[in-house]
Symmetry: C2
Subunit: 453 residues, 2 copies
């Protein structure tokens, strides 16, 4: 029999990793709820027609499709012709698929349940998604997304709130040095407008988005390759030089975009958000205006967010932005939305690198009762009492060698052991040992419970 | 554009339902952890070969298969012959599938990671599974399972612990009247042995398992249909009459099975478990020995558990048992396991019927700040202060009509609203209204925070 395995790009999570992952998810959830976002869940399987055409051609190829069953499958096979395209074949054999992200299913959800929801609708959703990407370091075929979105309001207060959320969650997780970069798609539209190239906005934003990676010269080369005229490039160049404090940058940009109505609107929105955050303050985050930030995604229409952990060489750990027509693809027009997404896998890697996970967790066993095979009923009652007092406790299931029991505690990361020897059970005074420090002391059950609680 | 929909047998969960579902899941998780069970997760997609052949022919058909991609798909299609069986076709076009339950993936997990685990290994797992069953009331194609298992120990203390877990979880959820039925597969083997029909044990247990539903006569008819000789049926009949308190029943059964070694072993195991539970007591559960309990499943080798809510007409809400060779299918022999499963969907239905869900949840918004469009910065600071003090709070995003804001609070089930009028903001004394009782009072922010905390 061959050794069992799992599909390429998927993962098993063992308890030690799960406890850490849950620490991240719980911290995120707690903050979401504090800000009034409520949970929803959608099925992992969507109708294939809901998903196709939403992620571009490449995206369509990367969607995992679920094979039809029974007669439907046999009829589908009969319909397959020589020379049929692969996409067509997939649609002939499959009517369902695994979701590719949480955003399109959320849009579908809002349209389908519009009469059951109160707007502005604030939801969070933490569920896995699937992409048939080539697996690589930190790129998986099954991974969790953690999204919070508000739909049905264009109030900029939500932009402010989402920035506070980034700050609160990441500060609570122990990150000390991270930047929330903010831009506004309208500013990018304004830049395209003043260069007279509004139809080239995607090329321009994709190019300047790379400033971080390829530098000013690289961006200019890319703009030339996209056939942006030299005159327009000259108008864009000042962007690369703009610096100083945010207020100065905003003022400089306001002058640069003086002739673009949409550009000025973008500046106003951005200035409003910065002003509110200045009033409220942030815990650990640095808020930065980054005019080169575009996040590739073409559906943002207002604010664009990206969060980076400084001094850790990993891409962005969170992102988000405002989109004015998310639900339009499903026939519900004019519903503005703004949302953010936490990249749990990358946050996990950052926290591991910086050693930020707490040593103990209330999601694991705190105490192992060492079993000497005596007075079983007494041992069970002590176990019961400890659990009733809220202490995560196990009794080793048999009175076997001490070494084996200690090894069990150690491998499971249980911080304390308590010895249930005959003498201890009679006297009511127990030896408790801290396996991290090696300290051992004698105490009554009552004191032990008080200590561990 | 047609109205968007989701696949048959799947569900969207809106916030109100999610909050209740999470209440169930969290209660279960908390108890699991208290008893030393740690979380694991396995991928939703497994290799198809991991799953096939584990659930019988019907089960294999009900597994959702995931279509191969790219060249592999095209090569597969080329290999399909006229007259190929559907199962063969599926295996030609698919190498991956959605898991059908959590048990087989767990067995695969234990074998694959055996060198990273410490035994006895106690894990819990709460994840969705998929079955292409015909959808019906309370039968879904995507649903959650909540399992806790111990592998690598044959200590009966775990049977005791799992019964305590049933009791603790369901009592914590507010159920007052439920029965934990217990049997032992070895007792069923003993019955088959004393009737001289050990090879017919499956037919016999499947028949007597139905006593509840079809009565004594029905069971006898089914035994006759399975060609169990009249003489054997006469030996089984006394089972239907056995009654009284558990100790008496155990004694009667001990006499009945006096000639069967395995039967007596089953009685001993059962008696041990009942004795320990008697020492420890149960909160709300009634513990019952039900010799007719077989749970159809053929892989149990020791204890068999089933939990029913009394006075609610729904099937069993939990189940479980001991299996001596779970991992044998993946080549790891002699690892005994025992586990239980909570039926979250059915528990949800029972709780709805008995109105057991708490009115408020710490997973939803507690307070809405009514926005009158004045002193925005002050309002934002108050919002921030409330959240810092751990109160789930929202500020309505614009100073619109009061009625609209109240309706928002109502539809979202927010229990309190606080009015941020100009006067209040100046005086620091605020009106807070309880929307459930209609009570309104004036208080300082400090007192309000103390009240809501």
């Amino acid at each position: 029999m061959s050794k069992p395995s799992i599909p390429k790009g998927t993962r098993d999570f063992l308890p030690k990793v799960m406890v850490k992952r849950n620490y991240i998810f719980n911290t995120i959830k707690q903050a979401f709820v504090k800000y009034g976002f409520l949970p929803i869940e959608t099925p992992c399987m969507e109708n294939l027609s809901t998903l196709t055409g939403k992620y571009g051609e490449e995206g369509d190829r990367l969607i995992f499709k679920v094979l039809d069953r029974g007669d439907k499958l046999m009829r589908g096979l009969d319909q397959i012709d020589e020379g049929m395209s692969q996409g067509k074949i997939e649609h002939t054999l499959c009517k369902e698929a695994l979701r590719y992200d949480l955003t399109v299913p959320f849009a579908r959800f809002v349209v389908q349940h519009q009469n059951e929801l109160s707007f502005p609708f604030k939801r969070y959703q933490i569920q896995p998604v699937w992409r048939a990407d080539r697996p690589a370091k930190a790129r998986y075929r099954e991974f969790y997304q953690c999204d919070a979105d508000v739909v049905g309001s264009d109030s900029l207060l939500f932009e402010v709130e989402l920035i506070q959320l980034f700050d609160e969650v990441l500060s609570n997780l122990g990150l000390n040095d991270f930047s929330i970069k903010v831009n506004n798609r309208k500013i990018l539209s304004g830049i395209a407008e003043i260069t007279g190239l509004s139809d080239k906005i995607v090329d321009i934003t994709v190019a300047i988005d790379k400033l971080d990676k390829i530098g000013e010269e690289g961006v200019i080369k890319e703009l030339e390759r996209k056939e942006i005229p030299q005159e327009a490039i000259e108008k864009i160049k000042p962007l690369f030089k703009i610096g100083g404090n945010t207020k100065d940058v905003i003022n400089e940009m306001r002058q640069l975009l003086a002739d673009s109505e949409i550009g000025l609107k973008g500046i106003d929105e951005l200035a409003y958000v910065f002003e509110k955050i200045e009033v409220l303050g942030l815990e650990k985050a640095k808020l930065e205006f980054d005019v080169t930030l575009a996040r590739g995604l073409n559906y943002y229409t207002g604010a664009i967010f990206e969060v980076k952990a400084n001094n850790v060489s990993i891409g962005s750990i969170c992102g988000g932005g405002r989109y004015d027509d998310l639900t339009g693809i499903f026939g519900l027009k004019d519903l503005s939305g703004v949302g953010i997404s936490f990249g749990a896998d990358r946050i996990y890697d950052v926290m591991e690198e910086l050693n930020l996970f707490p040593e103990t967790s209330d999601e694991s066993t705190q105490l192992l009762l060492i079993n000497f095979g005596v007075k079983e009923n007494e041992c069970l009652k002590i176990l019961q009492r400890l659990r009733e007092d809220g202490i995560n406790t196990e009794l080793y299931p048999e009175g076997t060698k001490l070494k084996k029991q200690m090894k069990y505690a150690d491998s499971k990361g249980i911080p304390f052991v308590l010895f249930l020897g005959e003498e201890e059970l009679e006297s009511g005074m127990f030896q408790i040992k801290n396996l991290q420090t090696g300290d051992q002391k004698q105490a009554s059950l009552k004191d032990i419970i008080a200590d561990l609680s």
